[in-house]
Amino acid sequence: MRYSLASLLLNAVSGQSRWSPAWRSPEPAGHYDVVIVGGGGHGLATAHYLAKHHNVGRIAVIEKGYVGSGNVGRNTTIIRSNYLLPGNTAFYELSLKLWEGLEQDINFNAMVSQRGVLNLCHTDAQRDAYVRRGNAMRLNGVDAELLDADQVRAFVPFFNFDNARFPVKGGLLQKRGGTVRHDAVAWGYARAADRRGVDIIQHCEVTGLRIDKGVVTGVETTKGFIGAGKVALAGAGHSSRLAAMAGMRLPIESHVLQAFVSEALKPMIDTVVTFGAGHFYVSQSDKGGLVFGGDIDGYNSYAQRGNLPVVEDVMESAMALWPALGRVRLLRSWGGVMDMSMDGSPIIDKMPVENLYLNAGWCYGGFKATPGSGFCFAHLIANDQPHPVADRLLLDRFTRGALIDEKGVGAQPNLH
């Protein structure tokens, strides 16, 4: 059923009895034209755009847990496109534009809220870097505004501006950035893909790839073999394990990133702010919880939980920037497994095995990229050519030396 005012009224007068499930739970068919491994945000978005824009036949998404059980439901919900380097800027801007039209496209309220993303700077050097980044963004048609200290004070008056060690000197604001209800993104894409005939197969783990003379012919799963014309891997933190099934190693390490939410509070902050002197960023959800996070723990991990030093570090940063948080109670914290790539940028590319495609290396920035990633991955799968805005996010950039290293820290995934 299409969601509309009419469907709302119809159900209001019929005891809410006419709603149908948002998506089916089909048994897997024996063969699909495209099998997408991973029913997270990126896999479901890929399925949606494949079904909508490309004529590729039958599509299945295979998910080992349930829709929304992975990183798409574990992130801090921020969207933005404030990237510096060629290869990233145009890609993330496409993604942000897709966010702006997402709800009409998938007929689902994802609560896209362009409340702005403000990066604070605390030194002259940091301001210079933000000027450069802001100019790069504007040259690429992305919105960016440099705020001085007084403008920051007017925009978010409640921070500690006169911290002796880290005074707030200004900030780079992207007004079109903001937040999106993360679960609704998973549900919305799942429903939209399902409505276009995509089979979403949950609780079905891929245990192997069947490869015949260098051509992938299907996937072995806990529900048996499923044949496939093309196989697309969107396994996020578990991408290395999927690639290993094809005998490949990836330029990726899996790391754990923690996130936090406070008890529900009255409205305190109506934008997204990042602290430039420590790793801390914060926004407020519509339920009232302050949602915040920090750095990855820094060692290889597939555990969806982290350790206490990072918790302490994030809380210290929070208190340095925003002393009013001192009496707020933390409601819960959790961890997600990040596919940290060697240059901090993602990979959307074909693999050396014929008809096998890879979407990985999103580090801790995968959520904002969800629509763009799905859109470009679908383009690649359908056309065997990278989408023009994603034509640098290729696997061989590491051997060619064409890295996209926003932070400039080299091949150390735990520092990106």
């Binding site: 290395s240 330029p251 390490e253 060692y299 991990s301 597939y302 555990a303 350790n307 030093p309 590491f398």
Partner: protein, 84 residues
């Protein structure tokens, strides 16, 4: 998480700096260099990795489980190199 330094005993993980997979060894051939620098096994389960004990300046090879964060054998990196 706590790591046992062979010289200092069991210490808080904050005293250590992670330096990545201890598996790859620097190749002679230029063609193998990109693999060495960029590609990783990234296993789910036991992983041999370098940690620097920042307090006593000893490089360690730590065997650690990436799912449970349990720590297995810990040896100074120089011993491992001598053995291989």
């Amino acid at each position: 998480m706590r790591l046992p330094c062979p010289y200092c005993g069991e210490r808080d993980s904050r005293e250590f700096t992670y330096r990545g997979d201890a598996g790859p060894t620097r190749p002679e051939a230029d063609e193998a260099m990109a693999d060495y620098v960029y590609l990783r096994d990234n296993p789910l389960g036991w992983h041999k990795e370098y940690w620097l004990h920042t307090v006593c300046r000893t490089w360690l090879v730590v065997e650690r489980n990436t799912v449970t964060h349990a720590v297995g054998t810990v040896v100074p990196a120089r011993n491992q190199r001598a053995a291989s």
